[in-house]
């Protein structure tokens, strides 16, 4: 049992959703984005949410982040409501695109949350140096976003989410737009970063290998209505070289994820 799992079982839950549901009112009538989601995420876990588009995985992440309001059930973040958690800056959010401000250089982009939170200039400098090192971007402080590759931009946006030391990191398909070689590289770096910082990570993806490679737990979701169909505990060790993806153990988990997606009819149109 890993440290993370032990802590999770000790009951220090970071995210706790009970019978959570969210129905969007649209012009074509109500759309059930989430129904009856029951999920507890423990401190230090790396949880991936996988499923086809429309399964509500991003919506669930946005509910945690207080970017959407649930219409049924309840959810608590560190024992608080999502709004309180947001006001306490309890989480860092990484979007599908890097969403860097084009008029700020990388260091200034990373400093954005620190400026908003009123961190002193000296402290800002120190934190920027630390997180730039964490994502291997030291030396690129004065570059502007357009001067960086897509992968580097996304790393800068991860640095920005790490800068204010929230314990929870919410990542919404952060590597979805990148090619596979860059993605492999960033997956490896993300695992290293997770090991070094002991953060709780919620990670949305629609890549089965990515989910299996990264996670301690994989939540399989299914659309119409968006719901959780399976939760898979990973048996892989915390130390994961890239070639772990060819081991039978890895393939067995990947197979189970695929089965879960099948069971949720995710492959039908």
């Amino acid at each position: 049992m890993t440290v993370a799992e032990a802590k999770a079982q000790a009951g220090t839950s970071v995210v706790d959703a009970k019978n959570l549901g969210l129905t969007f009112r649209t012009n074509d009538g109500p759309v059930q984005a989430l129904t009856d989601v029951n999920l507890t995420i423990g401190k230090g876990e790396f949880v991936s949410f996988i499923g086809p588009s429309g399964c509500g995985k991003t919506t669930f992440l946005r509910v945690i982040a207080d970017l959407e309001q649930p219409t049924e059930g309840s959810i608590s973040i560190n024992g608080m409501t999502p709004q309180q958690a947001r006001e306490k800056r309890a989480y860092g959010y990484v979007f599908q695109a890097a969403a860097l401000f084009p008029w700020r250089n990388i260091a200034k982009n990373v400093a954005l949350p620190l400026e908003i939170m009123g961190v002193t200039a000296a402290e800002q400098k120190q934190r920027i140096a630390r997180v730039m090192d964490l994502v291997n971007l030291t030396g690129f402080e004065n570059k502007y976003p357009w001067q960086l590759s897509g992968g580097m931009q996304q790393r800068a946006s991860i640095a920005r989410a790490l800068a204010f030391d929230a314990d929870l990191l919410l990542m919404d398909e952060p590597f979805g737009a990148l090619d596979e070689i860059v993605r492999d590289h960033l997956n490896k770096q993300l695992l290293e970063l997770w090991a070094r910082t002991d953060k709780t990570i919620c990670f949305v993806t629609h890549s089965i290998p990515e989910a299996v490679y990264l996670s301690t737990r994989i939540v399989v979701m299914s659309p119409r209505p968006g719901r959780v169909t399976d939760v898979i505990e990973s048996t892989l060790p915390k130390e994961r070289p890239l070639d772990i993806r060819e081991t039978p153990e890895f393939l067995a988990i990947a197979h189970r994820v695929r089965e879960g997606l099948h069971a949720g009819h995710s492959y039908e149109d």
Binding site: A65, R86, G92, F95, A99, F101, W103, R104, L112, Y144
Partner: protein, 292 residues
């Protein structure tokens, strides 16, 4: 060399084309009066001599380019700039009220845009009035504004520049509403996750995002300001400025002087628009934009 080929050559080609059209028009438009003159004098000039005469009348219907150029050169470079026959003097008078009006207009436009973006009631109520304001013929409004202001003791530069303000606030307001609303949803969500206050969202996201829109609309606004300043000089008995120069020349049928005043106005407009463009590019560069 690329710059020469890409921008100067096309512009010169159009210019040469315009000059040719202008000469042809001058000959055709001045011909009836010249024929009249020749008939009364009992002369029968040859074609070449006749064309020469149409291009050298003292008060032609349509002055030829070289006549305008000569007059423009004389009144721009050969006179003391304090003389009231100097085009530089008149251009400066118009320019000063243009710039003042442009500053007022830009400030007013930005203020209105900030209000519209942040106050729902203003968003609903103000825009139709702003659009309506631009449908009023400025030539009709200008004398009223100046007479009313003179009645309460405000004369000189301010009333003139208010006409410029009236024309220039509009493009800035419209552009800035668009600019302040230009941040992507993702950037707004990001600020929301940081629990940023409305003023932080405004200064750190909306304002920097709106800068390109501001300069694009300021280019339109500065040209409109100049038009406003010239129009303000027309019906008000102004004694100096490009507008008053135009009016005086038309009283005395000094068509050549009218045209050179027009040329002076266009040159001032070109300088103003270029200057705004250059400042815009410098600001863009300082904000880390990719060099074009």
């Amino acid at each position: 060399m690329n710059r020469v080929r890409d921008s100067i050559v096309p512009v010169l080609t159009i210019l040469v084309g315009l000059v040719v059209v202008w000469y042809v028009a001058a000959i055709l438009l001045n011909a009836p009066f010249q024929r009249d003159l020749d008939r009364r004098a009992g002369e029968t000039p040859g074609t070449v001599e006749f064309i020469g005469k149409t291009l050298s009348q003292p008060k032609p219907t349509m002055p030829a380019p070289h006549q305008v150029a000569q007059d423009f050169f004389k009144n721009t470079f050969l006179r003391k700039i304090t003389s009231n026959r100097s085009l530089v003097y008149h251009a400066w008078v118009t320019l000063s009220s243009t710039l003042l009006g442009f500053l007022f207009g830009t400030a007013l436009g930005i203020l209105i845009a900030v209000g519209i973006v942040h106050v729902l009631a203003l968003d609903r109520s103000l825009m139709p009035w702003i659009i309506a304001s631009q449908t009023v013929p400025i030539l009709a409004v200008a004398p009223m504004v100046i007479v009313v202001l003179a009645a309460i003791g405000i004369t000189g530069l301010i009333p003139k520049s208010l006409i410029s303000t009236y024309l220039s606030f509009f493009p800035v307001a419209v552009g800035m509403v668009k600019g302040l609303r230009s941040p992507e949803l993702m950037h707004l969500d990001l600020m929301h996750t940081y629990n940023a206050s409305q003023s932080q969202v405004f200064w750190k996201l909306r304002v920097p995002a709106s800068v390109p829109f501001l300069f694009a609309s300021m280019k339109v606004a500065v040209a409109a300001s100049l038009v406003g300043a010239i129009v303000a000089e027309l019906p008000t008995g102004a004694v100096a400025g490009i507008g008053s120069k135009l009016l005086q020349a038309s009283y005395y049928s000094q068509t050549i002087e009218m045209w050179s005043a027009l040329v002076a106005g266009s040159i001032v407009a070109a300088i103003l628009v270029t200057a705004v463009g250059i400042v815009g590019r410098l600001v863009d560069r300082s904000m880390g934009a990719r060099p074009a």
